[in-house]
Amino acid sequence: MNEKVVELKGITKVFGTVRASDNITVSFNYGEVHSLLGENGAGKSTLMNILCGIYQPDSGEIIIRGERAIVRSPRDAISHGVGMIHQHLKLVEDHTVLENMIAGQKGSFFIRKSKLEAEIRALCDHYDIQVDPNTKIKDLSIAEKQRVEILKVLYRGARILILDEPTAVLTPQETQNLFKIIKKMREDNCTILIITHKLDEVLEISDRITVLRKGKYIDTLINENLEPRTLTDKMVGKSTNLEIVREEVKPGDNILEVSKIVVYNHENAHALFDVSFSVKKGEILGVAGVAGSGQKELCEAIAGLQRVTEGSIRFNGEDLVGKTPRKIIDMGISMSFVPEDRLGMGLVSSMDITDNVLLKEYNRQHGVFLSRKEAKKQALDLVDKLSIDTPSVDTAVRLLSGGNIQKVLLGREIETQPELIITAYPVRGLDVGSAHKVYDLLNVQKQKGVGVIFVGEDLDVLRAFCDRIMVLCNGKVTGIVDADKVSREDLGYMMAGRHMDEVMADV
């Protein structure tokens, strides 16, 4: 038997001027775990979205089990046995597990619930997944929801499963659980394709690894005695220095004191509960937690974009609670915020660099009219200082690469001479070089005595770069620890909700 289950031949997909997938040829075998590795924008997701019918390729062919296949929709894909588990889970919150699993299924008009339930339970037992088919999705944790999504795809007959960044929302312990399920699927001769950029996980779980870079196929490696360095070099295309430096700076007084704040989200549930911490001048405070633990709300609360119902946020002693961003600026407080959503909040994607610089200073101008002279000068300065790769300062920022977009945003924020910088996932999606540029910029600020809040996802980066790390779980602080004294595992337990006192006592 041919051991290749899927062959992709010469797949090309162009978005506008970007060749997201450039003549990629790769094949996947029966019963293997195959990771697709690459930086953001390398074309991993594009390639997998083509295989599962969300995008159609401009050219190239897909061969599944030896036959040429046309996959025009996810429904086509599942009929070929290909199913994808997306990073943002697609489940109906108000429905039960069972209802979600059969939604959109072909079949008879009437549903025999007892039979279905038995089938699902059998599937759960087989993969050692504990979930009651009759619970509602909204009552499950994120990890459980992900398992339901996997069950759903398996139930629909997928034998080739694509997982898009499956561990981004999981604690290290939950990740191990997921890997168990993946191994079980491999035993059943399923093919599991994982999109990721986390090296250690890739090395732990994969049989083979395919590296992509800027839409091009680079190499496929068998996972035996591989060095992480080999992989990063292939990802980046040059030798890299992965060292992250923690500048030793003697911290000063507290610049920010957050005391017992409570924030509700738009569904009126607690987004933050009783959160207290402080940031010193010349200190980088890391914030860890699985995605959606309240990081976004925390940053926005400090920046004046979220309503704080209780508690106080003191900046140099002045309370910011109840103040709008405008008022905070008017109080003379210089605070910078680099939000997670760069193009949706930090910048205006269709505007050029000049106008995006203008965003921060336009209101200081008097009168009705607007002058772009100053902003243009600053923009030229930024491009020069941070070596931003752009045709001109009149280029819309959405046309720039992710790294350059972040340079524009971070550069503009630093330019305002802040005393506190809040950064949410500032290196997400950046290539290694740009990420290091961001660390360098923040370190320079730290040496100047600026306080920095660094919300991150990579625990190793947080441990290497920050002075202290605060861990959030479900909107509560589960611990604030010294970065050089805490292990990955301990951070993982805190991310899962155990308090630091228990975790550290366990040792």
């Binding site: 062919e61 025009r72 974009l305 709008t324 915020f337 939000p339 209101n363 009705v368 607007l370």
Partner: protein, 357 residues
Amino acid sequence: MFRISKRAEMKRTHQGLVRIAAILVSLVAMSGWIVAIGHNPLMVYKAMLDGCFGSTYRVLETIKYTIPLGLAALGVMLAFKMKFWNIGGEGQILMGAFAATYFALNFSDMPKTALLLLMMISAMIMGGLWSLIPAIFKVSFGTNETVFTLMLNYIALKYIIYLQYGPWKDPMAFGFPKIPNFSDNAILPKVFGLHIGWIILLLATVVVYVIFHHTKIGFEIAVIGESENTAKYAGMTVRRTVMKAVFLSGGLCGLVGMIQASAVSNTLTFELSSGIGYDAIIVAWLSNMNPMMVPLVAFLFAILSQGASFIQTAFQIPQSAAEIIQGMILIFALSAEFFIRYKLSLVDRSAKGGQHA
């Protein structure tokens, strides 16, 4: 079969070619329809041009229709740029005309300049207030402005009908339901044989351009249109800016009402606008939200309307059939914009698809 995908930015000259091609294709397609209703397409096209440019009078008529169309398009554009879908131009025009008429009828012995200014200002305020109602509801309660502004059009229209048939009916008109004509004081003067609305249109074009590109509020409007989150992040007071911009938008439409009442119909009638507020939406879109394009696009649109109404009389073509011709050109013009942004490509169907055994 076909697949739609976004294309890279097209060169300006290419864009022009696509648009010209669209007009040519539309002429061919319309020919089919004109033959079907028993006329010679070439004669009809010639007549349409004749109807717009055949005499000085006709040229002036075409420009006369361009003025309200262009001004109202500039008005709705102020709101559209912010992604506030003001479909209520029609109502704002009528309410503006209503306010202007109130002063025209009750203060007819004021000096001409003062009265005209009073009429303009009151029309702008009234149009602005009319548009402010949905804006306030939108920023306070998140109501949908599209439906809201549309509904207000009907209220405005019925209100003017009520005035025309009721309290404001001219007692000297032998029972004919009309509002009294304005005195000479309340009628806009002419420059080069055409009422000064054309100067107002050109001025407004420049003003809106300056607002968009060289004022703080214009910058705020652009940012809010792109992303409200960014606007809040940058410390903008989104509610206040939305209300200001929508007020300006309605105010400009209100001014259209004043111009139409004063210079064109010399009184208020419920047929005063007859769809200008809606056509303006198309003009704003075809201008690509660029105010400098508005006078030209409005003029082209006016040619189309004038031409269509001329062939009705010249060829005894029913109004509905003439409007079909107008509609066809618009569809082709709008699809040209689609083809400038997207491309279609053929999907290879030789491979096996769908069901897997």
